[in-house]
Symmetry: C2
């Protein structure tokens, strides 16, 4: 190729990577980039036809780098590049790095735009940069024609040129392509583009699709199969761009609202497993249709896919009976990553496309938790990170680069508004924010669909179309926390009847009391928070916190350094109120972050960079799983966590920012004594019994 | 395991391999065998339940080996072995080598019977010994039960015990098994037998089937897909025994008698390829049913299969359009070995079973020729071996350990009795042997269905039931050769009209003459050999010989050392007459052997020992293919070969055993002159034209 560089050769600096090196005059810039490990895509193999390898010269005197870069230092456009510009168009200033050669010192910008050459994908929620190394590569070749003197098969000659031009050794060809090869090769005069998958469950790269001539498109999907919602990204594997994102409800809901009722459905109905597998695969196929329509993409140009899901969704998706996951010892059929052909699981994309599911961590901590772990990477940093994904089952990961532990805790559906008297899902008309004046006990609130608070002028008009219909998950946290902060409920979660004297908003219901949040206009419901509502939130948050605490004990830490809330619920709750309620342990509030659908982001990472697959497989194997049900200590932690924010744990950092009520109960009974939790335990049990 | 052996340890000699070694007292004999590389099967992993590891002690003083072997030198039966004997029965003298231990010097016989422990398969036709190393191994394991503290999947624990007990590292599990694993594991209390395939197209061994408890059966099929006949062996992969063999006609015949008419059918009919693929696969499925019924085997116990076929049959079987094989440059879609799941090609055996097709050598020299090459192994020895498989297309291999060359030659169907006036296939009533008295020109012959010659007493009665209906392939060779030896036809193949004076059996038909072989009883045909019949045989044998000669020229040899006739045709013809006719070059007659369906034997070898797959893949890549159509010299060789036995080539070794007629033509025209072949050429062309 090129002679070795020496000190008098021009210096080339690539931005934004900052990688630099000297190259002899005449070196194509694509070669220079590759020698330095700068990622520049190319499908056509340097024939100036695919246009994927665009770069830009940065002109000027870069004193810091001691480079004077000028347009004179790059070769003028040759006939191939001019033809490309004429036929396909080339933006002002852009050059094809396969054709343009080094003529002097240069600063080269590898454009980060997402249309042609992006190395990165930016996700609004996380502003995350994912380095690309996707499992699929498109390779254009011109195959040698058959020769009676050398009677190798067409397939063998295809493999030979793929090895010769692109370095693929010992390639395998997907069986379904074999009957098609001869026609495809002859269609464009022996020029073809092979889609090569380099992340099979065995080590041999495989031709999974073959096109006559130049094929300059390749897409993948990253999908999070939730019990309630299925979310999907459609991504260009060549540019890294997220072309479309969409979601749909999981149609399995018609078989059962929550996970356990779906397992029951399988156990009770002979065709139950098949029906649910079919339903989820159909929904995914429909969703693929939607994202493809949104992105203007042919679904047959999808070559790779990554799925995350909780264990039961994971099993049903793969056609595995989840019955064992419904009972101790909660045995997963398969815990490792699963790979295969999308054809085999009824996913309708390219017939050579592959799928990959992230590994499951345990029977209750699924591939979705693995996705969130990959996304947030507790193991990639030294701080003790708590990562919680709150759903009907909370998945909890705690750790740092030294050690990661995981557990799940059965929080139930209270956080999602179920089991709450005025609860509803987050939709227009739902109260999403609540404040209570500690003096007057008067509330003010905000409703989805309008920006005005209820005490602002024009709120009634603004909320007229949606109405005010209930309380969604984030506001349930806030209203209970505000009730606690304003003294309406005690540390034990009892609505204080004596407050009736202070405000007419405290209402008696038989033996317990409620708080009236809103009277309601004609036709609207009266919205109250009942004692039972508070108990439901207490039970849910206690389950979560006890799980967290168990993991903290396993790690031997009293506090965590940073907290990540994953999932839709986490995106809307205010960390402060979550901490006031004691969902999460005490922590610097600036270190508590909502990270959105981290499981989906993890799937996206594994789709765009197969190194992330190896990374999470390795990490999941190392994560220590704690089964809360087997820990005798869990019950005690749960009882302590029923109190607000907690019976025994202090919240000093929270107290710096929020004026917490004095610890009434503890000050009466004394702190930390053995007797207290025991007595508390009986009280709580009674309260619980009353509720059931 | 056992401590290292030393010089005072007992000496154990295994027969018939003759491998020997010293082992500490107490070493199980199965371990001793394995340490020496003596093949003893075991499915249960030493639990004394599968009974595959049987051996026998040879008692006596083996002076040559300096061993006194006695029944006292093997441990008595323990409780496990006694239980096996009680439940399953153990033949007199047999022991289970997994339980029996070394107690003193021993001579151990590893029984070569085919029921339990055979290492070898004996084929009647070849008396061949095939060392066994099949692609499938059955492994019994007891899987660890799930544990909430270590929440790995059931599949991961299965893999772990297969690694621990049997040494399988990095195992893969066939995707279709994943949804079944949990039920199978729980059926027999976590005891399962895994069928492991260790010859995938990538390096990872794969669990392809899984059974509750002990599964002690595993079968494979070896199949030769001929244009006319499909032949199949059903083999136990555990014992190596051929359980059943059968054949059926290829139903593609209804689309076209010969290969080219089938290619034409594909070209003329849009669904032609699919129809023929379906037909051959259905026939194979039916044949599998037949061999399974014959062998008392469940077809779902078939885990592996090997197929050989000529290129067009090969492509149609794999679902590949063979059109390209019907025209220059005769491009194969795929020339290498093809592997896959039988499910994907519609072969109905175990749903995890695999198939393997041997590589094709060239567009006209298929996987069947590769199979014959593997079977006869020209490359395994130093003699120059000629291997011919005669069908409508003769496949010719010539070589030795230094170099192998191959070609095909279009012999046409004359050797199979087609295009011959009284030709018929080899069936009762067909004349199969012919002798002609050189003095009287009276024939005597033998007919399929009776052992008597026609001049023996009782022949008429014996042949009454079958009748005498025609001449089959082997007899066509003989009768033409005998006509030549007795002077009825000249070296040029002309039936000599002047012989009418000598015998009434020479009959005139217009401008040419025929030989009356049999008048025929009432209702039976009159059987004659016409001038056209002789010409048809001359054309066929000239094509074959010219191809052989071309390869001899490529090899730079004047003679060959040994000749193998493969195929049904080759099994019945008398080498002497083949040589008299000049089908094959001069050679020591004792070195000419019929080897039956060598292609099928090659398939069987590849089924029973996967090393043979690598062997033939490597050899095929090295074989040099000669395209006769591209060799300008071929035409001349063909013309020379029209003469009997040949215009220019001498047959000195044949002449030692057979009195050949004087070379009339050559003696007239002079030997080896340029003029002769030219003139001959014109004569032959004229003859040919007259015939067409």
């Amino acid at each position: 190729m090129n002679s070795p560089a020496n000190i008098t050769d021009p210096l080339v600096l690539f931005m934004p990577s900052g990688k630099r090196g000297r190259f002899p005059v005449g070196t194509p810039l694509l070669d220079a980039a590759r020698q330095l490990g700068v990622y520049v895509e190319s499908v056509c193999g340097g024939r100036a036809t695919c246009g994927r390898c665009q770069i830009e010269v940065q002109e000027g005197n870069f004193a810091k780098h001691k480079i004077v870069s000028s347009l004179d230092h790059i070769s003028p456009k040759g006939p191939k590049e001019e033809r490309y510009e004429r036929v396909r168009g080339l933006p002002e200033g852009r050059r094809l790095s396969c054709s343009a050669t080094v003529q002097g010192d240069l600063v080269i910008d590898v454009p980060q735009d997402t249309v042609i050459n992006a190395q990165v994908v930016r996700k609004a929620a996380t502003d995350r940069v994912i380095e690309r190394n996707s499992a699929v590569q498109m390779c254009y070749v011109e195959v040698e024609q058959p020769d009676m003197h050398k009677p190798t098969g067409d397939l063998e000659r295809l493999k030979a040129v793929l090895e010769n031009d692109w370095g693929w050794k010992d390639l395998r060809v997907a069986p379904h392509l074999i009957p098609e090869i001869q026609k495809i090769l002859r269609k464009e005069n022996w020029a073809v583009t092979a889609a090569i998958h380099k992340d099979m469950e065995f080590s041999r790269a495989t031709v999974i699709a073959l096109y006559p001539g130049l094929k300059n498109e390749a897409y993948g999907i990253a999908c999070d199969i939730g019990s309630t919602t299925i979310a999907m990204h459609l991504v260009s594997l060549l540019s890294g761009r997220v072309v479309a994102s969409s979601g749909t409800s999981n149609p399995q809901i018609r078989f059962g609202e929550d996970l356990m009722s779906r397992v029951s459905y399988v156990m009770m109905n002979p065709d139950g497993r098949e029906a649910m597998t079919k339903a989820v695969r159909e929904a995914i196929n429909t969703l693929i249709g939607n994202v493809c329509e949104e992105g203007g993409v042919d679904r047959h140009d999808i070559f790779d896919s990554v799925f995350v899901a909780n264990p039961i969704m994971h099993h049903l998706f793969l056609g595995i009976d989840p019955t064992e996951l419904g009972q101790a010892p909660f045995a997963l059929a398969v815990s490792g990553a699963v790979q295969g052909w999308t054809n085999d699981i009824g996913i309708d994309v390219n017939s050579g496309a592959r799928f990959y599911t992230l590994p499951c961590i345990a029977g209750h901590v699924g591939a979705d938790a693995a996705g969130a772990t990959l996304s947030e990477g507790p193991y990639r940093q030294d701080k003790m990170m708590l990562l919680v994904d709150v759903g009907t089952n909370a998945e909890i990961i705690l750790g740092n680069s030294a050690r990661v532990v995981a557990a799940s805790s059965p929080t139930g559906p209270a956080f999602e508004g179920a089991e709450i008297s005025s609860g509803q899902r987050a939709a227009p008309g739902a109260i999403e924010r609540v404040r209570i004046d500690p003096e007057t006990l008067e509330p003010r609130y905000r409703v989805i669909g309008t920006d005005k608070w209820s005490d602002e002028e024009g709120f009634e008009e603004a909320s007229w179309t949606t109405g005010v219909t209930g309380i969604c998950g984030s506001a349930i946290i806030e209203v209970v926390a505000e009730m606690y902060l304003s003294g309406i409920i005690s540390e034990d979660g009892v609505v204080d009847g004596s407050m009736m004297a202070k405000s007419p908003r405290i209402i008696q219901n038989g033996r317990t009391f409620s708080y009236l949040l809103r009277e309601g206009r004609q036709g609207e419901p009266r919205i109250t928070v009942t004692q039972n509502d508070v108990r439901a939130i207490q039970l849910a948050k206690a389950a979560l916190y006890a799980g967290v605490k168990l993991l903290m004990e396993k790690q031997g830490v009293e506090t965590v350094d940073t907290i990540r809330f994953a999932g839709a619920f986490g995106s809307f709750i205010d960390p402060k109120y979550a901490m006031v309620l004691g969902l999460i342990p005490d922590c610097d509030l600036s270190e508590v972050k909502a990270v959105g659908n981290a499981a989906g982001t993890g799937a996206l990472m594994a789709l765009l960079n197969r190194d992330h697959r190896r990374e999470i497989e390795k990490q999941v194997a190392k994560i220590e799983k704690i089964e809360t049900a087997l820990e005798p200590h869990f019950q005690q932690l749960f009882i302590d966590a029923m109190a607000l924010p907690n019976k025994v744990d202090p919240f000093p950092k929270l107290a710096e920012q929020v004026k917490l009520p004095p610890r009434k109960a503890t000050s009466e009974d004394g702190v930390g004594g053995e007797a207290t939790p025991r007595r508390r335990s009986r009280e709580e049990r009674a309260a619980r019994r009353g509720r059931e």
